[in-house]
Symmetry: C2
Subunit: 202 residues, 2 copies
Protein backbone atom coordinates (compact mmCIF):
# COMPACT_ATOMS: atom_id res chain seq x y z
CA UNK A 1 0.00 0.00 0.00
CA UNK A 2 1.45 3.34 -1.08
CA UNK A 3 1.17 6.00 1.61
CA UNK A 4 -0.85 9.07 0.67
CA UNK A 5 0.59 12.52 0.20
CA UNK A 6 0.01 15.38 2.64
CA UNK A 7 -0.68 18.61 0.76
CA UNK A 8 -1.02 22.01 2.38
CA UNK A 9 -2.81 24.69 0.37
CA UNK A 10 -2.57 28.33 1.41
CA UNK A 11 -3.17 31.68 -0.20
CA UNK A 12 -4.64 35.07 0.67
CA UNK A 13 -8.42 35.56 0.86
CA UNK A 14 -9.75 35.87 -2.64
CA UNK A 15 -6.96 33.83 -4.23
CA UNK A 16 -9.39 31.06 -5.09
CA UNK A 17 -8.43 28.17 -2.78
CA UNK A 18 -11.95 26.78 -2.50
CA UNK A 19 -12.68 27.09 -6.21
CA UNK A 20 -9.37 25.39 -7.01
CA UNK A 21 -10.08 22.39 -4.77
CA UNK A 22 -13.59 22.02 -6.18
CA UNK A 23 -12.16 22.05 -9.72
CA UNK A 24 -9.44 19.55 -8.80
CA UNK A 25 -12.09 17.20 -7.38
CA UNK A 26 -14.20 17.65 -10.53
CA UNK A 27 -11.20 16.65 -12.65
CA UNK A 28 -11.09 13.37 -10.79
CA UNK A 29 -8.25 13.71 -8.28
CA UNK A 30 -9.34 11.73 -5.26
CA UNK A 31 -8.27 13.42 -2.03
CA UNK A 32 -9.53 13.90 1.50
CA UNK A 33 -10.04 17.47 2.68
CA UNK A 34 -8.99 17.56 6.32
CA UNK A 35 -11.75 18.18 8.85
CA UNK A 36 -10.66 20.78 11.40
CA UNK A 37 -11.02 20.55 15.13
CA UNK A 38 -12.80 23.60 16.60
CA UNK A 39 -14.13 24.86 19.89
CA UNK A 40 -16.71 27.14 18.34
CA UNK A 41 -20.38 26.20 18.49
CA UNK A 42 -21.87 24.22 15.57
CA UNK A 43 -23.94 26.40 13.25
CA UNK A 44 -27.14 25.33 11.43
CA UNK A 45 -26.79 21.94 9.77
CA UNK A 46 -23.15 21.47 10.76
CA UNK A 47 -22.43 17.88 11.75
CA UNK A 48 -19.67 16.71 14.08
CA UNK A 49 -17.13 14.65 12.16
CA UNK A 50 -18.35 16.01 8.83
CA UNK A 51 -17.92 19.79 8.91
CA UNK A 52 -15.74 19.93 12.01
CA UNK A 53 -14.72 17.89 14.98
CA UNK A 54 -16.42 19.93 17.72
CA UNK A 55 -14.48 19.95 20.97
CA UNK A 56 -14.49 21.84 24.28
CA UNK A 57 -11.61 24.20 25.09
CA UNK A 58 -10.51 21.76 27.76
CA UNK A 59 -10.33 18.97 25.20
CA UNK A 60 -8.39 21.07 22.68
CA UNK A 61 -5.91 22.23 25.33
CA UNK A 62 -5.31 18.60 26.23
CA UNK A 63 -4.89 17.66 22.56
CA UNK A 64 -2.26 20.40 22.17
CA UNK A 65 -0.47 19.31 25.34
CA UNK A 66 -0.44 15.69 24.12
CA UNK A 67 0.84 16.59 20.64
CA UNK A 68 -2.37 15.43 19.00
CA UNK A 69 -2.71 18.49 16.75
CA UNK A 70 -0.47 19.09 13.73
CA UNK A 71 -1.22 22.81 13.99
CA UNK A 72 -3.58 24.98 16.00
CA UNK A 73 -4.42 28.58 16.66
CA UNK A 74 -6.66 30.58 18.91
CA UNK A 75 -8.61 33.12 16.88
CA UNK A 76 -8.99 36.56 18.52
CA UNK A 77 -7.79 34.95 21.76
CA UNK A 78 -11.04 33.04 21.87
CA UNK A 79 -12.00 29.95 19.86
CA UNK A 80 -9.46 27.30 18.87
CA UNK A 81 -9.04 25.76 15.43
CA UNK A 82 -6.64 22.94 14.64
CA UNK A 83 -5.76 19.87 12.57
CA UNK A 84 -6.01 16.43 14.07
CA UNK A 85 -2.84 14.40 13.65
CA UNK A 86 -4.78 11.15 14.03
CA UNK A 87 -7.24 12.05 11.26
CA UNK A 88 -4.44 12.98 8.87
CA UNK A 89 -2.25 9.97 9.60
CA UNK A 90 -5.13 7.51 9.43
CA UNK A 91 -5.96 8.71 5.91
CA UNK A 92 -2.33 8.86 4.74
CA UNK A 93 -1.72 5.33 5.99
CA UNK A 94 -4.79 4.16 4.10
CA UNK A 95 -3.13 5.52 0.93
CA UNK A 96 -5.34 8.58 0.61
CA UNK A 97 -3.94 12.02 -0.24
CA UNK A 98 -4.94 14.61 2.36
CA UNK A 99 -5.33 18.34 1.70
CA UNK A 100 -5.15 20.93 4.48
CA UNK A 101 -6.46 24.39 3.63
CA UNK A 102 -4.74 26.50 6.27
CA UNK A 103 -2.80 29.77 6.68
CA UNK A 104 0.97 30.20 6.46
CA UNK A 105 1.55 29.95 10.19
CA UNK A 106 -0.30 26.63 10.31
CA UNK A 107 1.50 25.44 7.20
CA UNK A 108 4.94 25.95 8.74
CA UNK A 109 3.82 24.23 11.93
CA UNK A 110 2.65 21.21 9.90
CA UNK A 111 5.88 21.16 7.86
CA UNK A 112 7.97 21.10 11.04
CA UNK A 113 6.04 18.06 12.27
CA UNK A 114 5.53 16.32 8.91
CA UNK A 115 8.57 17.21 6.76
CA UNK A 116 7.17 15.27 3.78
CA UNK A 117 4.20 17.64 3.53
CA UNK A 118 4.06 19.48 0.22
CA UNK A 119 3.32 23.19 0.53
CA UNK A 120 1.39 24.85 -2.30
CA UNK A 121 0.60 28.57 -2.37
CA UNK A 122 -1.98 30.09 -4.68
CA UNK A 123 -1.86 33.77 -5.66
CA UNK A 124 -3.91 36.02 -7.92
CA UNK A 125 -1.98 37.05 -11.02
CA UNK A 126 -1.55 40.67 -9.84
CA UNK A 127 -2.36 43.05 -7.00
CA UNK A 128 -5.26 44.67 -8.88
CA UNK A 129 -7.00 41.30 -9.17
CA UNK A 130 -6.41 40.56 -5.50
CA UNK A 131 -7.80 43.95 -4.51
CA UNK A 132 -10.79 43.58 -6.82
CA UNK A 133 -11.64 40.21 -5.32
CA UNK A 134 -11.51 41.57 -1.79
CA UNK A 135 -13.71 44.53 -2.73
CA UNK A 136 -15.90 42.24 -4.80
CA UNK A 137 -17.28 40.54 -1.72
CA UNK A 138 -19.07 43.82 -1.08
CA UNK A 139 -19.64 43.01 2.56
CA UNK A 140 -16.90 45.11 4.11
CA UNK A 141 -16.03 48.77 4.64
CA UNK A 142 -13.12 50.37 2.78
CA UNK A 143 -11.11 50.21 5.99
CA UNK A 144 -11.77 46.49 6.39
CA UNK A 145 -10.79 45.89 2.77
CA UNK A 146 -7.55 47.84 3.28
CA UNK A 147 -6.76 45.75 6.34
CA UNK A 148 -7.43 42.47 4.50
CA UNK A 149 -5.32 43.72 1.59
CA UNK A 150 -2.40 44.41 3.93
CA UNK A 151 -2.84 41.00 5.57
CA UNK A 152 -2.96 39.33 2.12
CA UNK A 153 0.36 40.91 1.16
CA UNK A 154 1.90 39.73 4.43
CA UNK A 155 0.73 36.20 3.66
CA UNK A 156 2.09 36.32 0.10
CA UNK A 157 5.51 37.38 1.42
CA UNK A 158 5.67 34.02 3.19
CA UNK A 159 5.08 32.11 -0.04
CA UNK A 160 8.85 32.02 -0.56
CA UNK A 161 9.02 29.30 2.08
CA UNK A 162 6.52 27.13 0.19
CA UNK A 163 7.36 24.43 -2.35
CA UNK A 164 5.10 25.44 -5.25
CA UNK A 165 3.39 28.57 -6.51
CA UNK A 166 0.17 28.39 -8.49
CA UNK A 167 -0.81 31.61 -10.23
CA UNK A 168 -4.58 31.92 -10.51
CA UNK A 169 -5.08 33.33 -13.96
CA UNK A 170 -7.30 30.53 -15.19
CA UNK A 171 -8.86 28.08 -12.73
CA UNK A 172 -8.74 25.18 -15.19
CA UNK A 173 -4.97 25.56 -15.63
CA UNK A 174 -4.57 25.92 -11.85
CA UNK A 175 -6.40 22.65 -11.26
CA UNK A 176 -4.23 20.85 -13.81
CA UNK A 177 -1.13 22.28 -12.16
CA UNK A 178 -2.31 21.11 -8.74
CA UNK A 179 -2.90 17.58 -10.10
CA UNK A 180 0.53 17.58 -11.81
CA UNK A 181 2.18 18.52 -8.52
CA UNK A 182 0.53 15.62 -6.72
CA UNK A 183 1.67 13.23 -9.47
CA UNK A 184 5.22 14.60 -9.55
CA UNK A 185 5.65 14.40 -5.80
CA UNK A 186 5.03 10.68 -6.12
CA UNK A 187 7.87 10.48 -8.66
CA UNK A 188 10.32 11.93 -6.14
CA UNK A 189 13.13 9.53 -5.35
CA UNK A 190 12.45 9.88 -1.62
CA UNK A 191 8.78 8.91 -2.01
CA UNK A 192 8.39 5.71 -0.01
CA UNK A 193 7.49 3.28 -2.79
CA UNK A 194 10.32 4.59 -5.00
CA UNK A 195 12.90 4.15 -2.27
CA UNK A 196 11.69 0.56 -1.90
CA UNK A 197 11.96 -0.13 -5.63
CA UNK A 198 15.55 1.14 -5.71
CA UNK A 199 16.40 -1.19 -2.83
CA UNK A 200 14.89 -4.12 -4.70
CA UNK A 201 16.89 -3.34 -7.82
CA UNK A 202 20.32 -3.15 -6.20
Amino acid sequence: MKKGLLIVLSGPSGAGKGTLLAEVKKKGLDFVLSISVTTRQPRNMEVDGVNYFFKTKEQVKNMIANGELLESKQVYGDEYYGTSKQFVEMNLNAGRDVVLEIDTEGAFEVKSKMPDAVLIFIVPKDLETLHARLVGRGTETAEQVAKRFGKAKEEIAKAVRYDYLIINDNIDTCAEEFISIVKCEKLKVHYESNKKLIEQLI
Copy 2:
Protein backbone atom coordinates in the same frame (compact mmCIF):
# COMPACT_ATOMS: atom_id res chain seq x y z
CA MET B 1 12.11 35.91 -20.78
CA LYS B 2 11.81 32.85 -18.55
CA LYS B 3 15.05 30.96 -18.17
CA GLY B 4 15.00 27.35 -19.36
CA LEU B 5 15.30 24.36 -17.10
CA LEU B 6 18.38 22.14 -16.99
CA ILE B 7 17.39 18.47 -16.85
CA VAL B 8 19.80 15.60 -16.35
CA LEU B 9 18.60 12.15 -17.40
CA SER B 10 20.47 9.06 -16.28
CA GLY B 11 19.76 5.38 -16.02
CA PRO B 12 21.51 2.06 -16.62
CA SER B 13 22.02 0.73 -20.16
CA GLY B 14 18.79 -0.74 -21.36
CA ALA B 15 16.59 1.44 -19.14
CA GLY B 16 15.20 3.25 -22.16
CA LYS B 17 16.69 6.78 -21.98
CA GLY B 18 16.83 7.30 -25.73
CA THR B 19 13.33 5.91 -26.33
CA LEU B 20 11.98 8.09 -23.54
CA LEU B 21 13.46 11.29 -24.98
CA ALA B 22 12.19 10.45 -28.47
CA GLU B 23 8.69 9.89 -27.05
CA VAL B 24 8.83 13.12 -25.03
CA LYS B 25 9.76 15.03 -28.18
CA LYS B 26 6.94 13.32 -30.11
CA LYS B 27 4.49 14.45 -27.42
CA GLY B 28 5.51 18.03 -28.13
CA LEU B 29 7.86 19.01 -25.32
CA ASP B 30 10.36 21.36 -26.87
CA PHE B 31 13.83 20.83 -25.46
CA VAL B 32 17.44 20.94 -26.59
CA LEU B 33 19.48 17.77 -26.21
CA SER B 34 22.96 18.82 -25.21
CA ILE B 35 25.71 18.23 -27.73
CA SER B 36 28.77 16.69 -26.07
CA VAL B 37 32.34 17.74 -26.50
CA THR B 38 34.61 14.83 -27.49
CA THR B 39 38.18 14.15 -28.49
CA ARG B 40 37.39 11.00 -30.43
CA GLN B 41 37.48 11.06 -34.24
CA PRO B 42 34.27 11.84 -36.13
CA ARG B 43 32.65 8.72 -37.58
CA ASN B 44 30.82 8.51 -40.94
CA MET B 45 28.36 11.34 -41.42
CA GLU B 46 29.01 12.91 -38.00
CA VAL B 47 29.05 16.69 -38.20
CA ASP B 48 30.87 19.03 -35.82
CA GLY B 49 28.36 21.11 -33.84
CA VAL B 50 25.52 18.70 -34.67
CA ASN B 51 26.50 15.27 -33.33
CA TYR B 52 29.43 16.42 -31.21
CA PHE B 53 31.75 19.32 -30.74
CA PHE B 54 34.98 17.69 -31.92
CA LYS B 55 38.05 18.95 -30.06
CA THR B 56 41.70 17.99 -29.62
CA LYS B 57 42.92 16.67 -26.27
CA GLU B 58 44.84 19.88 -25.82
CA GLN B 59 41.66 21.92 -26.29
CA VAL B 60 39.64 19.77 -23.86
CA LYS B 61 42.37 19.94 -21.20
CA ASN B 62 42.31 23.71 -21.53
CA MET B 63 38.51 23.79 -21.32
CA ILE B 64 38.65 21.75 -18.10
CA ALA B 65 41.36 23.99 -16.66
CA ASN B 66 39.29 27.09 -17.51
CA GLY B 67 36.06 25.68 -16.02
CA GLU B 68 34.38 25.59 -19.41
CA LEU B 69 32.98 22.08 -18.97
CA LEU B 70 30.08 21.29 -16.64
CA GLU B 71 31.27 17.69 -16.45
CA SER B 72 33.85 15.58 -18.21
CA LYS B 73 35.43 12.18 -18.15
CA GLN B 74 38.22 10.33 -19.85
CA VAL B 75 36.98 6.97 -21.12
CA TYR B 76 39.44 4.07 -20.64
CA GLY B 77 42.14 6.65 -19.92
CA ASP B 78 41.94 7.70 -23.54
CA GLU B 79 39.28 9.88 -25.20
CA TYR B 80 37.54 12.73 -23.37
CA TYR B 81 33.79 13.41 -23.32
CA GLY B 82 32.22 16.44 -21.67
CA THR B 83 29.43 18.99 -21.54
CA SER B 84 30.05 22.55 -22.65
CA LYS B 85 28.96 25.11 -20.06
CA GLN B 86 28.64 27.78 -22.75
CA PHE B 87 26.32 25.66 -24.90
CA VAL B 88 24.08 24.86 -21.94
CA GLU B 89 23.95 28.41 -20.56
CA MET B 90 23.32 29.98 -23.95
CA ASN B 91 20.25 27.77 -24.44
CA LEU B 92 18.97 28.20 -20.87
CA ASN B 93 19.28 31.97 -21.16
CA ALA B 94 17.34 31.86 -24.42
CA GLY B 95 14.50 30.20 -22.48
CA ARG B 96 15.07 26.71 -23.82
CA ASP B 97 15.01 23.62 -21.62
CA VAL B 98 18.20 21.60 -21.97
CA VAL B 99 18.49 17.84 -21.43
CA LEU B 100 21.79 16.14 -20.63
CA GLU B 101 21.88 12.36 -21.04
CA ILE B 102 24.85 11.46 -18.86
CA ASP B 103 25.93 8.95 -16.21
CA THR B 104 25.62 9.41 -12.44
CA GLU B 105 29.16 10.70 -11.99
CA GLY B 106 28.57 13.42 -14.59
CA ALA B 107 25.17 14.19 -13.09
CA PHE B 108 26.60 14.92 -9.66
CA GLU B 109 29.34 17.07 -11.19
CA VAL B 110 26.70 19.10 -13.06
CA LYS B 111 24.53 19.43 -9.92
CA SER B 112 27.49 20.76 -7.95
CA LYS B 113 28.06 23.47 -10.56
CA MET B 114 24.40 24.13 -11.46
CA PRO B 115 22.38 23.49 -8.28
CA ASP B 116 19.08 24.23 -10.08
CA ALA B 117 19.58 21.24 -12.37
CA VAL B 118 16.82 18.66 -12.03
CA LEU B 119 18.06 15.08 -11.84
CA ILE B 120 15.83 12.36 -13.27
CA PHE B 121 16.70 8.67 -13.12
CA ILE B 122 14.98 6.03 -15.22
CA VAL B 123 14.92 2.38 -14.20
CA PRO B 124 13.38 -0.78 -15.63
CA LYS B 125 10.53 -2.07 -13.46
CA ASP B 126 12.52 -5.07 -12.18
CA LEU B 127 15.91 -6.79 -12.40
CA GLU B 128 14.63 -9.47 -14.79
CA THR B 129 13.63 -6.80 -17.32
CA LEU B 130 16.98 -5.04 -16.94
CA HIS B 131 18.83 -8.32 -17.47
CA ALA B 132 16.67 -9.28 -20.45
CA ARG B 133 17.34 -5.93 -22.11
CA LEU B 134 21.11 -6.29 -21.68
CA VAL B 135 21.03 -9.83 -23.08
CA GLY B 136 18.60 -8.71 -25.77
CA ARG B 137 21.26 -6.69 -27.51
CA GLY B 138 22.76 -10.03 -28.46
CA THR B 139 26.12 -8.51 -29.23
CA GLU B 140 27.98 -9.43 -26.07
CA THR B 141 29.34 -12.52 -24.33
CA ALA B 142 27.77 -13.80 -21.10
CA GLU B 143 30.73 -12.36 -19.22
CA GLN B 144 30.25 -8.93 -20.78
CA VAL B 145 26.53 -9.04 -19.95
CA ALA B 146 27.31 -9.97 -16.34
CA LYS B 147 29.73 -7.05 -16.10
CA ARG B 148 27.20 -4.59 -17.54
CA PHE B 149 24.56 -5.98 -15.18
CA GLY B 150 26.83 -5.34 -12.18
CA LYS B 151 27.60 -1.84 -13.45
CA ALA B 152 23.87 -1.17 -13.96
CA LYS B 153 23.12 -2.10 -10.33
CA GLU B 154 25.93 0.20 -9.17
CA GLU B 155 24.39 3.04 -11.17
CA ILE B 156 20.91 2.35 -9.80
CA ALA B 157 22.25 2.51 -6.24
CA LYS B 158 23.13 6.15 -6.92
CA ALA B 159 19.57 7.00 -7.94
CA VAL B 160 18.84 7.85 -4.28
CA ARG B 161 20.73 11.12 -4.81
CA TYR B 162 18.52 12.07 -7.77
CA ASP B 163 15.35 14.16 -7.60
CA TYR B 164 12.92 11.95 -9.50
CA LEU B 165 12.55 8.29 -10.37
CA ILE B 166 10.75 7.19 -13.53
CA ILE B 167 9.91 3.50 -13.69
CA ASN B 168 9.91 2.25 -17.25
CA ASP B 169 6.94 -0.06 -17.36
CA ASN B 170 5.19 1.75 -20.21
CA ILE B 171 7.06 4.28 -22.34
CA ASP B 172 3.97 6.41 -22.90
CA THR B 173 3.44 6.83 -19.15
CA CYS B 174 7.16 7.54 -18.71
CA ALA B 175 7.03 10.32 -21.30
CA GLU B 176 4.00 11.88 -19.60
CA GLU B 177 5.79 11.72 -16.26
CA PHE B 178 8.87 13.37 -17.74
CA ILE B 179 6.74 16.19 -19.17
CA SER B 180 4.90 16.60 -15.82
CA ILE B 181 8.22 16.93 -14.01
CA VAL B 182 9.35 19.70 -16.36
CA LYS B 183 6.05 21.54 -15.80
CA CYS B 184 6.12 21.08 -12.03
CA GLU B 185 9.67 22.31 -11.70
CA LYS B 186 8.49 25.58 -13.22
CA LEU B 187 5.84 25.83 -10.50
CA LYS B 188 8.50 25.66 -7.79
CA VAL B 189 8.55 28.79 -5.67
CA HIS B 190 12.28 29.22 -6.27
CA TYR B 191 11.86 29.14 -10.06
CA GLU B 192 13.04 32.53 -11.25
CA SER B 193 9.82 33.93 -12.69
CA ASN B 194 7.85 32.84 -9.61
CA LYS B 195 10.25 34.57 -7.24
CA LYS B 196 9.81 37.73 -9.31
CA LEU B 197 6.02 37.53 -9.20
CA ILE B 198 6.04 37.17 -5.41
CA GLU B 199 8.24 40.28 -5.18
CA GLN B 200 5.79 42.20 -7.36
CA LEU B 201 2.85 41.19 -5.20
CA ILE B 202 4.28 42.23 -1.86
